[in-house]
């Protein structure tokens, strides 16, 4: 799977697609692959505040539970209701229909601190090299 060029990425494997002050956040294909079959997702409610670098929810597979960290700060506008009934979407379509939350951005400037698709790709390749070393 290629990493959408318009998105930005974190070292904790989250992505954010920001447009007009609203950011859609999800986890990357690399993350879902590491987790294995997703069985449950815990997300905040609309109105909740998220802070850059702090955990806002969890993604649970059979063998692990992973915290999800906010790439930037903001206020939750919507949480993806689909994931309540079909959490497995995270495995098949992590970059599009299995988005996690939509937030109102608190500070556009925070986006600049994140990686672009090319940098994230390189970051992942390094990780894969380490793993097989």
């Amino acid at each position: 799977m290629t990493y959408p060029p318009s998105y930005r990425y974190t070292t904790q494997h989250e992505w954010i697609d920001a447009k007009d002050g609203v950011g859609t956040i999800g986890i990357t294909d690399y993350a879902q692959h590491e987790l294995g079959d997703v069985v449950f997702v815990e997300l905040p409610k609309p109105g909740a505040k998220v802070q850059a670098g702090k955990s806002f929810g969890t993604v649970e597979s059979v063998k692990a539970v992973s915290e999800i960290y906010a790439p930037v700060s903001g206020e939750v506008v919507e949480a993806n209701a689909d994931l309540e009934t079909t959490p497995e979407k995270l495995n098949s379509d992590p970059h599009k229909s299995a988005w996690l939350i939509r937030i109102k951005l608190a500070d556009q400037a925070e986006l600049a601190k994140l990686m672009d698709a090319k940098a994230y790709d390189a970051f992942i390749s390094e990780k894969n090299k380490e793993a097989s070393a």
Binding site: D37, V39, F40, E60, S61, V62, P87, E88
Partner: protein, 503 residues
């Protein structure tokens, strides 16, 4: 699969439904003696508290159906009585039957924890003797038998440490835990109100002593060590480690899960350990029973003695024993009553059977593990070179090259008539295969195990699919754990009425 290595050919299977599916109205299994007093009018006496319908959908079956149901179910289980469990860190040894017998004696099983102490001297003597034996084995000064299991023992140990440090003026903030530790260690530290600082083990699962010097600050309350480590390797510098901690006013906690490598050979108390727990259901042979009960006594040095959970066993003049709850500095209770007495009885019976010769069990356990390690050394990857004690950890690195991992090998081992070894633990070895035979295995059983493992390694190289889709001879194949977690069905429910023909 070569015949020569097969220990069991087929796992037993019978069709047996849930007991609720066998149930039908009006059947009964147990009858009581007739009521010899005037019957109470339940509706009148209990008023709106009266459960007039009884428990809905409760099973209604006859005695023979209960016996058959559970007998059939039991045949679906593997057990120590059937063969070896090479489960690392579990110490699956023989559960002596005389222990079961004595725990059920009238006058032992029948005793109420609140009965007068003058009618409980037998029970109290049992507790006292076990305490004395465990102190002798661990080299410690004082002990509590109250914790219900290892994890509760760990909590008790940490609470003792906290109380001691609190008395000195500062309970401190952190507990250091090696990344090779059992999951109960960090989970327990958090419950005890401490932050966990994970410390990286060095390549043999040992504590990096030089790094430790920098890590032990005045914020550190304790280090939780497992010795031998979860890799089965003895921590040779443990006394030094204890010293580093003590100089900073911190304490050394030892997870005693691996006592099967040390009993009769050496004593943690002699090496600077301040407090430790024991798993009676591991080292001391009390049965696992499918997951419990266990018991997790905590042995400690004198400095922690005043903080022991209540009640504490004391001896009065004339040898009379008594449980004393008047302990002002105690951390309180961790469990109701005095402890899992029935489990304590079994552990004492085990110790009495061996006496001073208990060392021989340890020797045989280490001999078995070392023998298996030697025989499998060329076959599976051994990620370190130091000698193992009672357990050995291999990795699936070689077999991984053909896409076969530790879980697959473990599942294939089932087809050879064994229970799998411990997979994927400790976390510091990728693809870990942790094997602990215990002293209860004969040379023959060890050889059968070795043969099976060699055969599987061969299969992994020549026919990996066979291994990856194992087991093939069990009643059910690999189960859908993902489905179970996504849409959990955690109980049986009465189905809505439908015609018999649908069945």
């Amino acid at each position: 699969m070569t015949e020569r290595f097969k220990k069991a050919s087929q796992h037993v299977s019978q069709n047996e439904r849930l007991i609720f599916e066998t149930s039908s109205r009006g059947k009964r299994a147990f009858e009581l003696p007739p009521l010899d007093v005037p019957p109470a009018d339940a509706a009148k006496v209990l008023g709106h508290y009266h459960r007039d319908e009884g428990v809905s959908d409760f099973p209604e079956v006859s005695e023979i159906e209960v016996v058959r149901h559970f007998t059939r179910l039991s045949t679906w289980n593997y057990a120590i009585d059937l063969g070896m469990y090479p489960l690392g860190s579990c110490t699956m040894k023989y559960n002596p039957r005389v222990n079961e017998f004595v725990a059920r004696l009238d006058g032992i099983a029948t005793e109420h924890p609140y009965q007068p102490q003058e009618l409980s001297q037998g029970c109290l003597k049992i507790i006292k003797l076990l305490e004395d034996c465990l102190l002798e084995i661990t080299g410690m000064d004082s002990i509590t038998l109250q914790p219900a299991a290892g994890a509760q023992g760990e909590l008790t140990g940490l609470l003792l440490i906290r109380a001691y440090l609190q008395k000195q003026g500062n309970p401190r903030k952190k507990v250091l835990i090696p990344d090779s530790a059992h999951g109960t260690n960090p989970a327990t530290a958090v419950i005890a109100g401490y932050q966990v600082e994970n410390i990286k083990s060095e390549s043999h699962g040992q504590i990096d002593v030089e790094k430790l010097r920098d890590l032990v600050t005045e914020d550190v309350a304790a280090l939780m060590i497992t010795n031998p480590s979860t890799l089965g390797i003895f921590e040779p510098r443990i006394a030094e480690i204890a010293d580093i901690l003590h100089r900073q006013g911190a304490l050394l906690y030892m997870d005693g899960a691996n006592m099967n490598a040390l009993t009769g050979i050496t004593r943690p108390g002699d090496m600077g350990v301040d407090v430790m727990h024991l798993n009676l259901h591991k080292t001391f042979s009390t049965p696992h029973g499918g997951g419990g009960p266990g018991a997790g006594p905590v042995a400690m040095k004198k400095i922690l003695e005043p903080f022991r959970p209540t009640p504490v066993l004391i001896e009065k003049d004339g040898g009379r024993l008594l449980l004393d709850a008047n302990r002002p500095e105690s951390i309180g209770r961790v469990k109701a009553f005095a402890g899992n007495f029935g489990v304590l009885v079994r552990a004492l019976a085990y110790i009495l059977a061996y006496g001073p010769g208990i060392r021989q069990a340890t020797e045989d356990a280490v001999l078995n593990a070392t023998y298996i390690r030697k025989k499998l050394e060329g076959v599976f990857e051994l990620p370190y070179s130091l000698p193992s004690m009672h357990e050995v950890v291999f990795s699936d690195a070689r077999q991984k090259q053909n896409g076969v991992n530790t879980m697959d090998i473990a599942k294939r081992l089932i087809d050879y008539g064994f229970h799998p070894y411990t997979t994927a633990f400790p976390l510091i070895v990728a693809g870990a295969m942790m094997i602990e035979p215990t002293e209860s295995e004969s040379k023959e059983e060890c050889d059968l195990f070795i043969g099976a493992m060699k055969s599987i390694a061969h299969e992994a190289a020549t026919n990996p699919q066979l291994v990856k889709t194992a087991p093939h001879t069990t009643r059910v194949g690999r189960l859908d754990e993902v489905g179970a977690a996504r849409k959990p069905i955690l109980r049986w429910k009465q189905a809505p009425a439908r015609s018999e023909a649908a069945d």
